[in-house]
Symmetry: D5
Amino acid sequence: MLYCVRMDVRVPHDVDPDRFAALKAAEKARAEELQRAGTWRHLWRIAGQYANISVFDVASHDELHEVLSTLPLFPFMEIEVTPLARHPSAID
Amino acid sequence: MLYCVRMDVRVPHDVDPDRFAALKAAEKARAEELQRAGTWRHLWRIAGQYANISVFDVASHDELHEVLSTLPLFPFMEIEVTPLARHPSAID
Amino acid sequence: MLYCVRMDVRVPHDVDPDRFAALKAAEKARAEELQRAGTWRHLWRIAGQYANISVFDVASHDELHEVLSTLPLFPFMEIEVTPLARHPSAID
Amino acid sequence: MLYCVRMDVRVPHDVDPDRFAALKAAEKARAEELQRAGTWRHLWRIAGQYANISVFDVASHDELHEVLSTLPLFPFMEIEVTPLARHPSAID
Amino acid sequence: MLYCVRMDVRVPHDVDPDRFAALKAAEKARAEELQRAGTWRHLWRIAGQYANISVFDVASHDELHEVLSTLPLFPFMEIEVTPLARHPSAID
Amino acid sequence: MLYCVRMDVRVPHDVDPDRFAALKAAEKARAEELQRAGTWRHLWRIAGQYANISVFDVASHDELHEVLSTLPLFPFMEIEVTPLARHPSAID
Amino acid sequence: MLYCVRMDVRVPHDVDPDRFAALKAAEKARAEELQRAGTWRHLWRIAGQYANISVFDVASHDELHEVLSTLPLFPFMEIEVTPLARHPSAID
Amino acid sequence: MLYCVRMDVRVPHDVDPDRFAALKAAEKARAEELQRAGTWRHLWRIAGQYANISVFDVASHDELHEVLSTLPLFPFMEIEVTPLARHPSAID
Amino acid sequence: MLYCVRMDVRVPHDVDPDRFAALKAAEKARAEELQRAGTWRHLWRIAGQYANISVFDVASHDELHEVLSTLPLFPFMEIEVTPLARHPSAID
Amino acid sequence: MLYCVRMDVRVPHDVDPDRFAALKAAEKARAEELQRAGTWRHLWRIAGQYANISVFDVASHDELHEVLSTLPLFPFMEIEVTPLARHPSAID
């Protein structure tokens, strides 16, 4: 099942830069791993913002929550989840 | 270039049903045509709402406006456009 | 899978009363049918408003959309859908 | 009487991790205790967010406030309370 | 139990004046009746707006909904309900 | 003259607990004093939130500002003021 | 006492032009009368909008409501009222 | 002096098409006239919406209001005005 | 030219009290100076909030920005600027 | 292609002044460089706020994101991007 997920990353100005850099590296690795697994199906950068619009393909809400809440940057994210159904005019 | 576009259709309760049905049919045909052309790359229904999240692939803002503003249901839509850049962690 | 759904019914002041009364009766019958089927698991009235908070149990986003979008009062509703995962502190 | 309560937990990035872990453990124990008592009737995780939608069954607003305001994580929560009445189409 | 209720009356510009005048008269009579019964404990006009802030004293959410939803002007109202608990610094 | 005042108390997580406890005690004493004086006519706790809805009876905006801005917890409050006029349907 | 009042006039597109023109003329006459009386102390047009920011000088909330609610265009207005106290740095 | 002005055109679904077409033609002519006069310095279409972002160069707020409020489509517009000052890093 | 300016002062709870007291004193002196110069024409306190509604009379947006951005408390302010034109019903 | 970009700079009150001053100087230099290159086509100060409205002329969303996200003050900015298409009434 597909979910559109918007993630806005809020970086506190006084966060420890090294700690945050490590989290970002872990986030990147995890994102690549989830894309290869087909879970993270689309990942686009919102132009001009530290935010992304993504589409996840998972079997349940529980799985979605597990994937999102274990992302290294999850504690710094505002997340909006929109469940996507099949559109009657979609040809694929 | 990719644009994420959210379209919420607002149907006035006193609209002429036949007129609206004709517009919906024209909208469906146009959406299918644009998908076959690769312009309308993704079209998903927001579960529970008369709304969709789409991704368009066009060459310019002008082309995007031309495509959206000539959709048969355009006069009944609230539209939000978000330009999408390449995400540094995207593997495709 | 569970979805929390908030439905606010907006009744235009100039709607045909008989037509709306018929829709309300059909809505009530459909709601009862869906509850007996276990699909519409909880249905509560928001005190003081023509709105409800419900919990639906369906197999997919598509099924949720099918159920909601075919409700007789759907054209008069503002709907908000929140996917519910299992809470780590839930005992049931 | 039933209340729908949404709780969003806001964790400051510079909070003492040990202190917060202890609060979370106390919160979990208290939540389980209230569920066994029938006070905290439903507890669902909002997929993708550190937030929950719950239904409380208490005798009065005072009791609701007592229960919520003494939750260990209360100081870190944004809470929204919606009183729930019986819906005329509810079959239970 | 006490509920703070804000009611904003939205009068469509093309409503039938006589019909609305009759509803207003019925609303006034009903409000006076509920105040004499002690149900509608406080009723204040928000200065400058066709709106009021009220405090209701009823036994349950169901009773509150029954009282509000049967007000003659209910179909023209936006209503916000806030449950009021006892304040620890209140002396009465 | 009557004013409806909503006060939301925002407690920074890293505030000095002793300092804040002293402010709360002073706030409670001041609130009781103002209630006895008839200035602070109603004080209700919003169930589930560190907030209250109050009604003040003072002679002018200046007096209202003096009373509110000198409350010990004023620096931690978000305040909303609504002037209340006599309602034509009020029987008291 | 002073109140800052913002008035946004919402003109339905299908209102009877003659009726509305008559209301506007009556509004203008009433505004001039209130200004001469010193009640409507300041009246400024918000550049680019059918809206104004005004300052009223009246003795009570009741008087403010009486003045505003009897304005000919009141039924077409969204009104926001802000009570103004004396500023400690004001020199007049 | 420069003002950034955002104009969103709201077209009621039941407006007389001929009347609106005439207004649009008059709007276009007026916009071209104002651009030639240097008053309407920039006029851009917001991609995907019946809205524009413009920059006006006029001598005063009064002149701005005169220009905007006499636009043929003014009654169908939501307008937001932002006064623009010289930016310290602007090189022109 | 006249501008209506709303200033909300946000005082961080952990700001250095002495530093802030000095800024407030400087702000007061500057405000009095600008009022004597006729630039700061009206200065009213919003009753119940650390905020003011003011009217400035300056020759241009640049001058307005210069005046506001050099106010000692500018870094702690949320500011909203509304350009004021002459109202057709204003008698002064 | 043109993008309208609004940038609001949020300066934490406890940021290191020297660090921030260095960032501001770097920002100014970069802004001038981008303007000379024709990328940053318009840069206006929003009167009364630490914010600007700009127009960028770049070849793609990716280039826009690269330019904005590498601005020295990017970490302290809230950014809103609006793609601009050619307006049918624009004469240039």
